[in-house]
Subunit: 306 residues, 2 copies
């Protein structure tokens, strides 16, 4: 079975890691949100791409899910002495990624090319693609501060400001990165990973050509919400603030018209009958490596029934 | 006594540290070579400025004389995995300096302004000035490779290529940094630190207005050569390759017309009579903090007799 997975941060990285344990490299392409990308300290930072790549490479911090295992913060500590900005916690190993990526971007290389080189260097055998080589910047409209850049909202303001909506700056002119539409075209199915629908999956779906390519495919989403709460991140909070009761059902409705299958947690079993598409009820928490593979297997099993 | 010290790398940093132990902040201005500055990995690196500042701040690596004490190389190790350039050994703490300096330069701040901010952050109370805020790049003409940038020659090629001459690119349009000419004007004397005459002191002297400002002052040089050899770096090798027998005498002649006093090592005492200016013979090696202060005191004592 040939799959494409659309992924954002930690939850998406975990499920793609499970899928990568089950599918050979030629049968899995992972398309990653770049709406979170930003420039900081003069460096181009691509948080979701790095989280997915570090996870697949076995380099991710197992406690946080993002950043590097065995990370140190000596640069940041010295930067603090100089009065530099330290609200975005960049580790020494992680900074090598940003420094080399920035150098290569300035030399005219594309993000997808750089990602391919980095994956090769890290031993990631499955294909990881940024959704676009063009700049897309997720802006969060907040009640209190007006529009904030995503990382300003997410890290600096710790997701505290109440949100009113989102805007993906540059989305009109962003083209899908080379290989993205081709991989969807060739795929038997597309998986929407348990990432934030508003700010991880929606930006990918908004890139020209991606949503319409998905409409011709089996599409299965895995809920990032369990029992009305997110495992990590502000998705549930965003639903509430936007006037939608956060639930697996809300996620299924979020993607309505696009899904052929849906995967949600046992805790939400009673909502299954309200979802008008084939729905699998299983354990969708992924605290361990085995859980990643188990959930990926459930997703593959569901797809085979569609 | 008000002094200006012209300094390059490790030897210059040590003597300025000795002078800083003896003179109050308002009485010592250190003007540092920036001909060694270069861009690497997209970062603006100013090796001599950093060596002087780290030394004065007590942050320098006591073994090498350059770089930071207690340094780690986690970023560089991760960069090596990505195939990035690692021939210039940048430590994690040191990189914070380059990253923040580069960010500020790109934001339009001057090198002298940034140096002032960094010195304040590091607790350096004496004034440290780059020789110029304008770009000057020391090029080394070599027999084998033609012209090499200074760091390419110094670090990458380990000073192995035979030199034919030097060129300071940009020197014609480089203006002395704000405060440099004023400090020399106000000084009772100027000290040429035991730095490489060819590539540390000559670039400073070549900045418009500096040499002519020095001609009105007492100028004392401390030899970087002892017994025909340099304590550190390629100065002696450069003299040989350029057809001059390396010695304290060669250094005194290098600066001829500019000096009112000269300080050299006991090992070279027999050369003193060949030097036509007031010459102090003392122990000029500075292996310890105390030695730095002792040599600085000798220099002050000599200046008082001139």
């Amino acid at each position: 079975m040939k799959l494409v997975a659309l992924a954002g941060g930690v939850g998406g990285a975990k499920l793609t890691d499970g899928l990568a344990q089950l599918l050979p490299p030629e049968n899995l392409t992972i398309v990653v949100n770049t709406g979170d990308d930003f420039e900081h300290l003069g460096l181009y930072i691509s948080p979701d791409l790095d989280t997915v790549c570090y996870t697949l490479a076995g380099l991710a911090n197992p406690k946080t899910g993002w950043g590097r295992a065995g990370e140190t913060y000596h640069l940041l500590e010295s930067l603090a002495v100089l009065g530099g900005e330290t609200w975005f916690r960049l580790g020494d190993k992680d900074l090598a990624t940003h420094l080399e990526r920035t150098r290569r971007l300035h030399a005219g290389e594309t993000l997808s090319h750089i990602t391919r080189l980095f994956c090769r260097a890290w031993g990631v055998r499955h294909t990881v693609l940024p959704m676009s080589d063009d700049s897309v910047r997720t802006m969060v409209e907040t009640v209190k501060y007006g529009e904030l850049s995503f990382q300003e909202y997410f890290v600096h303001q710790r997701c505290e400001p109440k949100v009113k909506g989102f805007r993906f700056v540059g989305i009109e002119s962003a083209r899908a990165a080379p290989g993205v539409l081709e991989a969807i075209e060739m795929a038997d199915a597309v998986v929407l990973c348990p990432s934030n629908p508003w700010v991880s999956i929606d930006p990918i779906l908004a890139v020209a050509g991606i949503r319409s390519a998905l409409e011709k495919k089996k599409v299965v989403a895995v809920s990032p919400i369990i029992g009305g709460k997110t495992v990590k991140g502000p998705a549930a909070k965003m639903y509430s603030e936007l006037g939608v009761r956060p639930s697996a059902l809300a996620v299924a409705e979020h993607y309505s018209g696009l899904l052929t299958g849906f995967v949600m947690d046992q805790l939400d079993a009673k909502l299954a009958e309200e979802i008008p598409i084939t729905t699998m009820v299983t354990d969708i928490l992924m605290p361990t490596q085995d859980d990643r593979r188990r959930l990926a297997q459930d997703v593959l099993d569901l797809i085979r029934t569609l």
